[in-house]
């Protein structure tokens, strides 16, 4: 008996120990990441900020939450090492794993925030960021200068504080663009080549081209040719929803069209009906993939990667991976050209826009950050031109060369490295830089801030196929298919408007999304004779939803932006 009770006792003790170890493990991690920053020497920080960085840089850690899935950089990453050596900062990244809302829910519930967090309205609503305007005024002259023209736009509409330092949308110098990442009607290059490089303007021309090509080539590389794809999966639903606003010559405002400062939804309007009726007609001819509304994102990418899809409406970045795969497979003629289609040739296309300031993106400093001063000084240092060059182009001589005219260029080897994911993890600070404040456009010496947008560099990097293709059209890059974007309206874009967590407007938005997801596929797949009845059903259902609450919120915010953002 004695032996037994001893065993029991030991077992109990072990259980308790296990528990305590597990529990202490849970609580301990936070301290290590932030404590070293707290007792930093103010003077060294000052020195680092003013540029007198000698060997006495006090090291400190910055914990960073990135609201996207990503990969940890290698421990000996070249750029992070440089940052550490010269500015003292070491980043500890936490990337999103799983669902963002769930993750944020947990973070908010426990007020468990790292020092830097990417922007999110949920976090703003929970009061997780500190206001930055005083910090910037006091410690960050470079950031102040960088954002000077955008200062009012950065203010949170709800309380007027600045919480997020937006990563994109601040331009300097000449804006070079060779790459279009936004929405368009995409068409396979081979279709255009086959038709003798026509200039396509309207939706009807577009589908005629596809129909003819499909008839001529019923199979591509062994798999049946697919005329048109529409992805509508989870949050990637714009492929189905967004086209009508572009077809009437309107830029991407999300779910609404704004005319003279007044927003209204367009889902139930006649020009929307016209588009879906066209799709219905095209579907009847067998041009639309039968599985298009059934597939998930992976299946969609797989189809595109096979090269058998002739066209789709999508945002370029959304199918980027499929296109990369086509390039790797050496199927350059199967990659895509974006076309800015409109209903009527007299309408000027407005697909390409000037990237607006995006407040839902970029970094904010959390309320838990022990030393926000040091972090803002670090960011301020990194926005200077020298650092920006390091962060975009890399290290001179290693990652790019400067030619006799003072222009930055790359050798083919360097170019290839820049597309290699593994190389990037060791040699680029992308995880940090993609969310950090950055210069866009060109540096003071005229070089482009983005290697891919440096015109001569872009030309040098073009494949033979693309050179020939662009020559046939007389264009310099694929961006030339689009009209130049006019100056953005002050409020633009409406889709960045925060609908407020838990508000009626947000509920209505979800309902409208639900209805469109349900009825539009039905309408498109219906027999042409039934289209009108499905459409009537759809619009009557929209009529039952409190659309006004949604439009009112957007209009109220548009008005606010016009009042507050006008210079």
């Amino acid at each position: 008996m004695g032996g037994k009770s001893k065993t029991m006792f030991r077992l109990g003790l072990m259980l308790l120990l296990t528990f305590s170890v597990v529990l202490s493990g849970c609580g301990g991690s936070k301290d290590t990441s932030s404590s070293s920053g707290s007792d930093s020497n103010k003077n060294t920080t000052e020195q680092a900020a003013t540029g007198n960085n000698d060997d006495k840089v006090e090291p400190f850690n910055v914990s960073v939450f990135i609201g996207e899935a990503g990969q940890q950089p290698t421990p000996d990453n070249k750029i992070y090492k440089k940052i550490k050596d010269e500015l003292g900062a070491t980043f500890n990244f936490e990337f999103l794993a799983g669902d963002i809302n769930q993750k944020l829910g947990v973070m908010i519930a426990g007020s468990d925030y790292p020092d830097l967090m990417t922007g999110n309205t949920k976090l703003t609503a929970a009061g997780a960021y500190i206001p930055l305007e005083d910090l910037i005024e006091k410690y960050a002259p470079n950031l102040k200068k960088h954002y000077a023209d955008y200062w009012n736009m950065m203010k949170d509409p709800n309380d007027g504080h600045i919480y997020i330092l937006p990563n994109y949308g601040v331009y300097n110098g000449k804006l070079n663009s060779t790459w279009y990442s936004g929405p368009a009607f995409w068409i396979q290059k081979d279709v255009l080549e086959d038709a003798g490089y026509p200039k396509v303007k309207t939706l009807d021309e577009y589908f005629d081209l596809i129909a003819k090509y499909k008839e001529k080539n019923p199979k591509i590389d062994g798999s049946p040719t697919i005329g048109f794809e529409i992805l509508n999966y989870d949050w990637r639903n714009w492929g189905l929803f967004n086209a009508p606003q572009h077809l009437i010559g309107h830029p991407n405002d999300g779910g609404v069209v704004v005319k003279d400062g007044v927003a209204e939804i367009f889902a139930d309007k006649d020009y929307a009906k016209q588009y879906y009726q066209k799709l219905n007609e095209v579907n009847d001819k067998g041009l639309i993939d039968k599985e298009t509304f059934v597939q998930n994102y992976d299946q969609y990418l797989a189809k595109l990667s096979s090269g058998a899809v002739l066209g789709m409406f999508d945002q370029h970045w959304n199918f980027q991976n499929a296109e990369n795969s086509l390039i790797t497979q050496k199927k350059d003629n199967r990659t895509y050209v974006g076309l800015p289609l409109v209903y009527d040739v007299n309408t000027k296309d407005y697909y390409r826009d000037r990237a607006p300031l995006n407040l839902n993106n970029g970094f904010g400093i959390s309320v838990n950050a022990k030393d926000p001063e040091r972090i803002i000084k670090l960011l301020d240092k990194l926005i200077t031109e020298d650092w920006q060059k390091t962060l975009t182009w890399g290290v001179e001589g290693e990652d790019y060369v400067v030619n006799e005219k003072g222009r930055f260029m790359k050798t083919q080897e360097q170019r290839d490295k820049f597309t290699d994911g593994t190389w990037k993890l060791a040699n680029k600070a992308d995880a940090f830089f993609s969310f950090a404040p950055k210069m866009e456009g060109s540096f003071s010496d005229g070089n482009s801030t983005d290697a891919a947008a440096q015109p001569e560099e872009y030309q040098a990097g073009l494949k033979e196929y693309d050179k020939k293709f662009l020559q046939a059209y007389g264009y310099n890059s694929y961006v030339d298919f689009f009209s130049d974007p006019p100056e953005n309206p002050v409020y633009y874009p409406a889709w960045t408007i925060d609908l407020n967590e838990g508000s009626e407007a947000k509920v209505v938005n979800t309902k409208l999304n639900d209805l469109s997801t349900k009825f539009l596929p039905k309408a498109i797949l219906a027999k042409p004779a039934d289209f009108n009845s499905v459409w009537t059903d759809y619009t009557s259902q929209i009529g039952k939803v409190n659309v006004k609450a949604y439009e009112d919120r957007i209009n109220e915010q548009i008005k606010w932006r016009i009042d507050n953002w006008s210079k």
Binding site: L11, E291, F293, V294, Q299, V507, F519
Partner: protein, 321 residues
């Protein structure tokens, strides 16, 4: 054997049990056991009872990162939203429908597989079949739905097979028709869980007294008769207990499968209570609504559980409580 069975009964049925008064010496005697139960009890209190406090959220317009005193109370507003929404009835129907299908299919297939496995005398073969059938249990639903979506695609294995066997002439788009959706979900559940569910029945079968089989054989029972009159009654109590426990989860039709396989065309059949709550609660930052949905589910679950338990008692079966 007979004796131990009798003892088990006695413990399960408190009326027949002789009552031990809770004396000091008893506590002293069993102090190791009591100490051992302390961490677990604390664990349960901390993680199962303390969170019930959070239910107050359902009656507030809850805003995170504000203290309890700063919240505004709104009474039954969120419950009202839940029950008056057009979609809610449809969503409830789907949940119950898919849940019942999963329940029935899950039980029937698991028991049949267990019975069949039990008849296999070659241990190697039995183990192999068992291992293969329970491995999918360890895959996450994200992967399983990926496999399901791929095999149900127009050029997927299912359509290929049906075409080759000349059962159909054109590939069927399984995921585009509401009428197939419940079946697809049920079948995916069976594929994923059947082997795992079998384990407990096999364990129950292993504890059946071999003498019963011998006696049956002496009386001239065939293989099927033995299955029918010895094996099934032998695992009946296990079945009933598991059934009662499952009925408590009747509103947990899950959401991953439906969320990942659902699309606009089948949404009328695919959306469950969990997805509804996710969309209109958590995704909107409306935690109160999400909590209200959770409370509704819990109340239904507890009611169903008690009802099933009571029915089992009436029928003179094993019970959970």
């Amino acid at each position: 054997m007979e004796e131990t069975l009798g003892k088990k009964r006695a413990v399960r049925n408190p009326k027949k049990q002789k009552k031990h008064p809770m004396t000091w010496s008893l506590i002293k005697n069993q102090k190791q056991l009591i100490w051992m139960s302390v961490p677990l009890t604390l664990y349960i209190i901390l993680f199962a009872y303390v969170p019930i406090w959070g239910w107050t959220m359902a009656f507030q317009n809850y805003k995170p990162a504000r203290s309890f005193g700063e919240q505004t109370w709104v009474g039954f507003k969120h419950f009202k939203f839940l029950f008056t929404d057009d979609n809610f009835l449809r969503v409830l129907r789907n949940t119950l429908g898919m849940s019942l299908i999963n329940l029935v299919l899950g039980f029937v297939t698991a028991i049949i597989l267990a019975l069949l496995l039990n008849e296999i005398k070659k241990v190697f073969l039995k183990r192999t079949v068992q291992t293969i059938s329970y491995l999918p249990h360890f895959l996450s639903w994200v992967i399983v739905t990926g496999i399901v979506a791929t095999s149900l695609a127009s050029d997927g294995i299912i359509n290929d097979l049906l075409l080759k066997l000349h059962i159909i002439k054109e590939p069927i788009l399984w995921l585009s028709e509401g009428k197939y959706f419940w079946g697809v979900v049920g079948a995916s559940h069976v594929w994923k869980e059947v082997g795992w569910n079998t384990i407990i029945y096999l364990a129950a079968m292993a504890s059946i007294d071999p003498a019963l089989y011998e006696a049956a054989e002496m009386d001239g029972a065939s293989r099927y008769k033995k299955m029918l009159y010895v094996t099934i009654p032998g695992i009946k109590s296990t079945i009933v207990i598991l059934l009662i426990m499952s009925i408590g989860h009747i509103l947990d039709a899950g959401f991953e499968v439906q969320y990942l396989l659902g699309n606009g065309l089948v949404v009328d059949w695919a959306e469950t209570v969990d997805i509804f709550v996710l969309k209109y609660g958590i995704a909107q930052g409306n935690y109160s609504l999400a909590t209200a949905g959770g409370i509704f589910k819990t109340v239904v679950s507890v009611t169903m559980l008690l009802l099933a338990n009571w029915t089992a008692k009436r029928l003179g079966e094993e019970r959970l409580l």
